[in-house]
């Protein structure tokens, strides 16, 4: 087995036993990136030299007996995390040459443990998209079928793990941006509860929805990486100061006493038959493992996408105002005055989907429309959150599909934004509710594309998700299949 095929946990064990060095492991991943990325385009920036220097430092730390759980482990970061000294583009032309002077907290935490930064991975521009086709650095290809999209917006994070270019990556999830690409690429992705992981230094798309999470090969790795990044950060006022449990302790087999709810709204029309079959099979597996299966209802599900595209775009229209070319970022060469400098720089710097969302959000917040759109959407959001809280009165975990279909083909939906938006119909409600959800492999389509299973937990009950996911994973073989690339 090559080093690049190892899970994060295996790498940990091997490093601790001195079976190989961090430098050797890092070299293996860098070689893998060099060999496969021309086909995938998962990386925007590869930090080869710096990664080897960090690996050497990690090896010294290991030799000194001062190892933390991530010391010497190579990782990839979505290019939305500020990384001091390494450019942070957010997959946008407007930040194509931007180098941040500071580290995002989530990155600072893995760095402090001695993780090695392999590079910055591709994404939809400003995390706006569900296919990773909205990148100023080109689309990412799905490692299972390069004619297909990897999902988005954390397409690079999911693709690079699926292709074993990195053993794990960090992504962000605003409406499904970790879970949907994880499902499409056959890896594990977790969106923690809003407030569980600091957003400080994560380039904002929609501040009330954005959340950082891990993308990994399996559930154990997910717990390991979550452990490293979770917890209160005084630099993020919305991060929550509640104790971080030992997530590894949640990795138990058997589901006796666990009540799993199936929301009827998630199994209606429009659900691909392969996806339905795989998810229903997963339900049977959970029942076999001892779980009690119940039907639940999330009655406002149908309003979630509309609600999301008002709130997220409203926040985005404001969050993206700072890209005015005054202090940093792309500035037009052709402008005679201030207004032209603004409008041309932004016109040249932002892609079409980003502009579409800025305009939608600006409209939703405009005087005279605010009550009808933004305020109404906030009320709907409260109802959607209440749906989940009501359902959690009777069940511990909610189970359903991640996306209505497996990965679609490149360009299949680019002409129809609404169709694209609907691919997030099962993931968006979780962000609106602010709770946690995990995606893990539960089967394959007729054409060999991975299918994801979504587990939704109570606020701050990531351990519940890890328990169910781990038990399911141990009882199945899906996570052991590798993309052909």
């Amino acid at each position: 087995m090559s080093l690049f095929e190892l899970t994060l946990q295996d790498l940990r064990t091997g490093l601790d036993r001195r079976e190989f060095s961090s430098a050797e492991a890092t070299r293996a991943f860098l070689d893998r990136i060099a060999a496969t990325d021309p086909q995938l385009n998962a990386f925007i920036t590869v930090c080869a030299e710096q990664a080897l220097a960090e690996a050497a430092a990690a090896d010294r730390r290991l030799a000194a007996g001062d190892a933390a759980p991530l010391t010497g482990i190579p990782l990839a970061m979505k290019d939305i995390f500020n990384t001091a000294g390494v450019r942070t583009t957010c997959a946008s032309k407007i930040l194509a040459d931007y180098v941040s002077p500071y580290d995002a907290t989530a990155f600072a935490r893995v760095k402090a443990q001695g993780a090695v930064l392999l590079g910055k991975v591709n994404m939809d521009e400003f995390a706006m998209g569900s296919s990773n086709e909205n990148s100023a650095f080109g689309a990412v290809r799905n490692p299972w079928d390069t004619a297909c999209v990897p999902g988005g917006s954390s397409g690079g994070s999911a693709a690079c793990v699926a292709a074993r270019q990195a053993p794990a990556a960090l992504g962000t999830d605003t409406g499904g941006s970790i879970r949907q690409p994880a499902a499409h690429c056959g890896v594990v992705g977790l969106k923690p509860t809003y407030g569980r992981v600091s957003r400080f230094g994560v380039i904002a798309y929609a501040s009330s929805l954005d959340q950082v999470g891990p993308v990994t090969i399996d559930v154990r790795d997910c717990a390991l990486l979550l452990q490293a990044i979770a917890g209160h950060d005084p630099l993020d006022s919305t991060s929550v100061d509640t104790p971080v449990p030992d997530y590894a302790a949640a990795l138990r087999t058997g589901l006796e006493g666990v009540r799993i709810g199936l929301p009827k709204e998630y199994f209606g029309e429009g659900l691909d038959t392969d996806v339905r079959r795989a998810v229903e099979q997963a339900v049977a597996t959970c029942r076999d493992l001892g779980a009690e299966i119940r039907e639940v209802s999330l009655p406002h599900t149908g309003y979630a996408v509309a609600c999301y595209y008002l709130i997220a775009t409203a926040e985005a229209s404001s969050n993206l105002a700072r890209y005015d070319s005054v202090r940093f970022g792309h500035r037009t060469a052709a402008a005679g005055n201030l207004i032209e400098t603004y409008s041309r720089s932004r016109d040249e710097g932002f892609g079409a989907e980003v502009k579409r969302r800025i305009m939608l959000g600006t409209y939703a917040l405009s005087s005279g429309y605010y009550d009808a759109y933004y305020l109404k959407a906030q009320k709907v959001r409260t109802l959607i959150r209440q749906d989940f809280l009501d359902a959690f009165e009777t069940v511990d975990v909610i189970l359903g599909p991640v996306a209505p279909t497996p990965a679609f083909r490149l360009n299949e939906k680019t002409a129809d934004p609404l169709q694209m938006y609907l691919s997030d119909i099962f993931t968006i409600p979780v962000n609106l509710a602010g709770t946690c959800a995990l995606s893990l492999p539960c089967g394959f389509s007729g054409s060999g594309l991975p299918i994801g299973l979504q587990l939704i937990g109570k606020p701050f009950a990531e351990s519940d998700l890890l328990h169910v996911a781990y038990a399911f994973e141990q009882a199945t073989e899906w996570h052991k299949r590798r993309a052909a690339i």
């Binding site: 995390f81 929609a206 105002a321 005054v326």
Partner: protein, 481 residues
């Protein structure tokens, strides 16, 4: 036509917190451009605001001092607009749920006592500053200095209760006095720590609904506020008298010409697209916090003024002067505490010689070499008859120069008052003998020359003669022994 003037003021009060409202950068004035900045106040991608709780404390105190109710929950909102001095493309402010609401201030003047409503006081961050063409050979360039960006401000919005420029100035002075008293603002109007926008409109006397208003921006002295409002009243009256309509617009006051000119019209007015800032949680202020801030409030000028009159027997004028500034009131009270029998004497010296010395030297009360202890020490010598009031002026100057106690100065300089009747009588005799002509005048009915004799005696005694004794002896001798 006769018009009634309607004025509402929006005052920006810059708070004296050591650090900015949403980051740890210093708020010190006059530092090299952009030297007091960080990812948060530069608006760099990914940076997030964290509220400075001292700014909240100051907002609560200001709200309490202006009779506002403090909202148990207030919400920070984003005010969206593009300008190069606004790094994030939005200003974090408060919109629907400000921290303080429904307050008032009483102003006094020729109109008597009038209560002016305060609609709201909200917290917000300041923008940066643009510097145009100051670098060599770059007259076409503009530079952005973000040292000020993120400095905490309170915006105090009055009700449209003011009816003249004088009322507006009285209100402003009152508010200025309070925030400086509280220590939440340094009150420096030149540096922009206390600045004002005025909404001015006219309506025919008797009409209920308000006329169309113009907003005059950033007027940075009391005098300019008066000038700007008076100009604006006249301008609007001319427009109305000519049958025209006042345009709703923003106008800029030009201190050079004393006029206001149009800056932007209603159609160019911004739609700020306010919405709650998702990066900040709602600000919760409970009763215990409010009481803790109430306990920090100093006695405010109005209460002090009334107490000085009622309990210390001072005149309204003296009470007004002594309470105008907190430092002076506290100095005065320290003096009264040391010499409770003589509040009037303490008041006279504080308002007289001490103020004169401070003005001459440009020093503040905190820097005064004459402390309340030194001053009252001297007043005790007067009370005991050791020195005269006249000699005391010399002693005071000496205290100012040396910082020594009055008793020591009196002793070293031999300034003890002469109350020895024999010694004074000898001088009186000499003076009367030398001024035979004036004695004749006095006895002929010209009593004004009495002062001449007093002066001569005091001069001859080098000011040390006890004035009461001098008077008594002179009277006796002039009336024919």
């Amino acid at each position: 036509m006769n018009y009634e003037v309607v004025i509402g003021l929006e005052v920006h009060v810059q708070l004296t917190t050591r650090t900015k409202i949403f980051c740890g950068c210093s708020t010190a004035f006059g530092q090299p451009p952009n030297s007091q900045t960080c990812p948060v106040c530069l608006g760099l991608p990914g940076a997030l605001p964290v509220l400075n709780y001292q700014a909240v404390e100051y907002a609560i105190r200001t709200g309490l001092a202006t009779n506002c109710s403090i909202a148990p929950q207030s919400v920070f909102a984003r005010k969206n607009y593009f300008y190069p001095d606004l790094p994030k493309g939005y200003q974090i402010s408060q919109f629907e749920l400000p921290t303080c609401r429904h307050g008032w201030l009483d102003i006094e003047g020729e109109w008597g006592v009038k209560r002016i409503g305060i609609t709201r006081i909200h917290m917000e961050e300041d923008a940066g500053k643009l510097v145009h063409g100051e670098a060599p050979g770059s007259s076409q360039s503009s530079f952005v200095d973000l040292n000020r960006a993120g400095t905490p401000l309170l915006e105090v919005v009055s009700e449209p209760d003011l009816r003249s420029a004088d009322e507006a100035v009285a209100y402003l002075k009152k508010l200025h006095q309070i925030v400086v008293y509280l220590g939440v603002c340094d009150g420096n109007m030149e540096e922009g720590s206390f600045r004002c926008d005025a909404n001015v409109s006219l309506r025919p006397v008797g009409q209920q609904e308000f006329g169309t208003r113009a907003e005059i921006k950033n007027v940075n002295s009391f005098r300019f506020v008066k000038q700007a409002i008076e100009y604006e009243i006249e301008r609007q009256a001319d427009v109305l008298d000519a049958g025209g309509k006042v345009v709703q617009e923003t106008r800029l006051f030009d201190a050079q010409t004393g006029m206001t000119r149009s800056m932007r019209g209603k159609e160019e007015a911004h739609d700020y697209r306010y919405f709650p800032d998702p990066d900040l949680v709602p600000l919760e202020i409970d009763a215990a916090w409010i009481e803790a801030e109430r306990a920090q409030l100093p006695e405010l000028p109005d209460a002090r003024r009334q107490r000085y009159q009622a309990e210390l027997g001072l005149s309204a004028y003296d009470a007004e002067v002594l309470t105008a500034e907190r430092a002076m009131a506290e100095y005065f009270e320290a003096g009264v505490a040391l010499l409770p029998t003589q509040p009037k004497a303490v008041a006279n010296w504080v308002m007289g010689d001490l103020t004169r010395k401070l003005n001459d030297s440009g020093q503040t009360l905190a820097e005064s070499p004459v402390t309340p202890e030194l001053l009252t020490g001297m007043l005790r010598l007067i009370e005991a008859g050791t020195i005269s009031g006249k000699i005391a002026k010399t002693v005071f100057d000496e205290m100012w120069a040396t910082g020594h106690e009055a008793a020591r100065i009196v002793e070293e300089k031999g300034l003890v008052q002469v109350s020895d009747t024999g010694a004074i009588e000898a001088i009186v005799d000499e003076v009367l003998a030398a001024g035979a002509a004036q004695v004749e005048q006095y006895r002929g009915g010209n009593e004004k020359v009495f002062g001449f004799f007093v002066g001569q005696v005091m001069k001859a005694s080098k000011g040390k003669a006890n004035p009461a004794l001098v008077n008594e002896l002179l009277k006796r001798k002039l009336s024919g022994e």
